[in-house]
Amino acid sequence: MALPNNTDPKLAEYAHPERLVTTEWLAQNLGADGLVVVESDEDVLLYDTGHIPGAVKVDWHTELNDPVTRDYVDGQGFAELCGERGISRDTTVVFYGDRNNWWATYALWVFSLFGHPDVRILDGGRAKWVAEGREMTTDQTKPSPVEYPVVERDDATIRAFKDEVLAHLGLVGRGGALVDVRSPGEYSGELLHMPDYPQEGAVRGGHIPGAASVPWARAAAEDATFKPRSDLEAIYLQEQGLTADDDVVAYCRIGERSSHTWFVLTHLLGFGRVRNYDGSWTEWGNSVRVPIVQGSERGSA
């Protein structure tokens, strides 16, 4: 049984308000049957320093990725991951995490590859929950294991691969769009890595031809919540000229910052077709003979 939706007026403005909950809603629903709260952070130890009571941890690095191939876990691995955490197919899963829910939206996106029906983000994430002085605990959560079905991962609907992005280049401006969510220095090619993340480097700097530059964190407000719908529309629609009918591919460096933008475009602004290119710049910027544009202009292929 899915939990009731949050009826907060700010959330109601979004295209799919059922994909978000407020801290107040979560505080009132903690412990409810059919709800599992998942913390997903950049820092693998942060959960262990204190977490929302009853929340379980999912680590993006060691648990959502395949340990050998550059890919995500398969249906079997995902079923085990969920089952161990007490998540069944009809569970309402609320994700939260550090850094404006950066990793929480990444985890939600991976859950969406397996079509988990009821996934939601805690608006404001860990930072807002802590700032409001809400309860945190270091008590270990011991979920009772449940059965989760083995579902085949759908790599066609919300995920894009390099060849598909190459084919997409001709569509840019003709019903298609590319959104580069990295920092301006990475977009122009001055930086070969994200500031402070040199281990995720590329041998060429720049961006995919035609890509709009919209750093992901522009969608987040000071308190780590998502900006209201009108502010998001001002950025993505008015300023960048995207429309909800566009076929959009978003990318960053390894596909995590762009899952945040994927969430914003899909669930908050109601775009119908948004894919996350998780190969992102660490694949494109290291590939032989793919077109690249340097500088701050979008350019074209």
Binding site: E42, D43, V44, L45, L46, D48, T49, H61, T62, D98, P195, D196, Y197, P198, Q199, E200
Partner: protein
């Protein structure tokens, strides 16, 4: 492998337990990272930033007249993994002679067995920390 005694002990502690307990050990170490002394508390700009770490980490290295190396770290509470790495360095190296610190193999951290628990990518921050500590020790002892 030639490791200073405290560091060798830490490596042994880590390799004696399974991946889950290694994380617990790292968490405990992160809580034991000493506060910055007064002279650095308001002088972060005099410290060196370790850009390879995923969260802001600053370090300062002093070599005392008796050749003992002293280390100072600053990392936010919300970055326990980075603090844990810094704490391994502090516990293992602080007070050791400069020559001992320079002799530590650059890949000593692989022996901690943390790759599986925290992922190799994250561990690169620790390698970078050691490299920067050695550079500072070299320039302090060359003078």
């Amino acid at each position: 492998m030639s490791l200073p005694p405290q560091l060798a002990e830490l490596v042994e502690d880590f390799s004696d337990v399974g991946p889950k307990d290694r994380l617990q050990l790292l968490l405990e170490l992160s809580q034991e990272l000493p506060e910055l002394p007064e002279r650095y508390a308001h002088a972060a700009d005099t410290m060196e930033q370790v850009h390879e770490c995923q969260s802001p980490l600053f370090l300062a290295v002093e070599v005392a007249p008796d050749d003992a190396v002293h280390l100072f770290f600053s990392a936010p509470r919300e970055a326990p993994t980075t603090r844990g790495f810094a704490s391994i360095m502090h516990t293992g190296l602080d007070g050791e002679p400069a020559a001992e610190v320079l002799a530590i193999p650059d890949d000593f951290y692989t022996a901690l067995g943390l790759a599986q628990a925290v992922s190799p990518l994250r561990l690169r921050g620790m390698a970078a920390m050691l490299a920067r500590i050695k550079n500072q020790v070299r320039s302090a002892t060359a003078a």
